[in-house]
């Protein structure tokens, strides 16, 4: 009888699985699925059903169940698969370019556009303010016409 009870308890513990091991998970599978790449299909895990992606999802779920943090899981995956497993490039070294270049391009483009608009509006203003100059011949004819009117 005792053996049977112990066997049932052991089975219940086994079935409870990783969830019981970690009451307060530090991260979630759905979050990490968007941060980790499928190495064989080059999309994030959430967009892949490839066998390799399924395997990594299982591994992540297991680690979440063991209360691992996002960083711990990412570090383990990088150690196993290399830096390419991360969807976003790291914030250091040459990879910083990937972060700053698009931002720099947007800011630079917006600056150029603003400068262009400003120069264009100034040209229009000066065109509107300055009276049109008449050539000497026309001016002479206007003066003559005005004189005749007098």
């Amino acid at each position: 009888m005792i053996v049977r009870v112990l066997a049932v308890a052991a089975a219940a513990l086994a079935l409870a699985g990783p969830a019981a091991a970690c009451a307060h998970p530090k991260t979630s599978l759905s979050y990490l699925e968007g941060q980790i790449m499928c190495p064989t299909c080059h999309t994030t895990l959430d967009q892949s059903d490839a066998a390799a992606a399924q395997q990594i999802k299982r591994e992540i779920a297991k680690r979440i169940g063991q209360c691992w943090s996002t960083k711990q899981i990412e570090d383990e995956l990088v150690g196993n698969f290399g830096q390419g497993i991360l969807a976003a490039p790291p914030h250091k070294g040459f990879d910083l370019l990937a972060w700053w270049l698009p931002l720099g391009s947007v800011i630079g483009g917006a600056g150029l556009l603003a400068l262009g608009v400003w120069r264009w509006s100034r040209t229009r203003e000066s065109d509107a303010q300055e009276p049109a100059e008449l050539d000497p011949e026309t001016e002479r004819q206007v003066d003559e016409a005005l004189a005749r009117l007098d």
Partner: protein, 180 residues
């Protein structure tokens, strides 16, 4: 738009187009293709999957080598594993070295795979795929290369050696490698 500003914008646009073109050229010229039969087998040093240390392919020069690329998540690799082990047991007496290269795999699952299938030949791990896809152009596992004593590739099998079309070819390739 004033002339200098227009010129700057045109130069920037031209620079962007040239940059994209350079990226395209780089991508096309850096695509990896499977090394051809008769070419030297690309060298590598990879960490052993089981045990410690690493394995250098160059250290096996002088021996025929069967280089098998596999992964624990790969279905056909499971059916191939038993046949590969049998081939290893048969050919090792004749001096043929077998090396398994585990590709894009979780190390724990890969070790379990080796244990479950009773694989006894040396295994190395290529998690990043730098050697497997980068040097051998492998995108789908399993694939097998048979390398001769001189380090030249004798045969490339893109698929499981258990498939009827490849089984005879594999035996012939190992025989050629032994004579090389």
């Amino acid at each position: 738009m004033t002339r200098p500003l227009k010129l700057t914008a045109q130069l920037l646009a031209l620079g962007a187009v040239l940059g994209l073109l350079a990226l395209l050229v780089w991508r096309v010229t850096h695509q990896t293709h499977a090394p051809k039969v008769g070419a030297a087998a690309p060298g590598f040093t990879l960490a052993r999957l089981t045990g410690t240390g690493s394995l250098d392919l160059a250290a096996l020069k002088g021996k025929p080598v069967v280089l098998n690329f596999w992964a624990s998540w790969c279905g056909p690799c499971k059916s191939e594993a038993r046949v590969l082990e049998q081939a290893f047991q048969r050919y090792r007496k004749q001096g043929v070295a077998f090396v398994g290269v585990d590709f894009h795999d979780v190390a724990g699952d890969a070790r379990r795979f080796v244990s479950v299938h009773g694989l006894t030949f040396p295994m190395v791990q290529d998690g990043s795929g730098d050697v497997t896809s980068g040097r051998y152009g492998v995108s789908q596992v399993p694939e097998t290369y048979v390398v001769g004593r001189t380090g030249k590739i004798v045969m490339h099998i893109a698929g499981p050696i258990t498939s009827p079309s490849f089984a005879g070819e594999f035996r012939r390739a190992v025989a050629v490698a032994l004579r090389s």
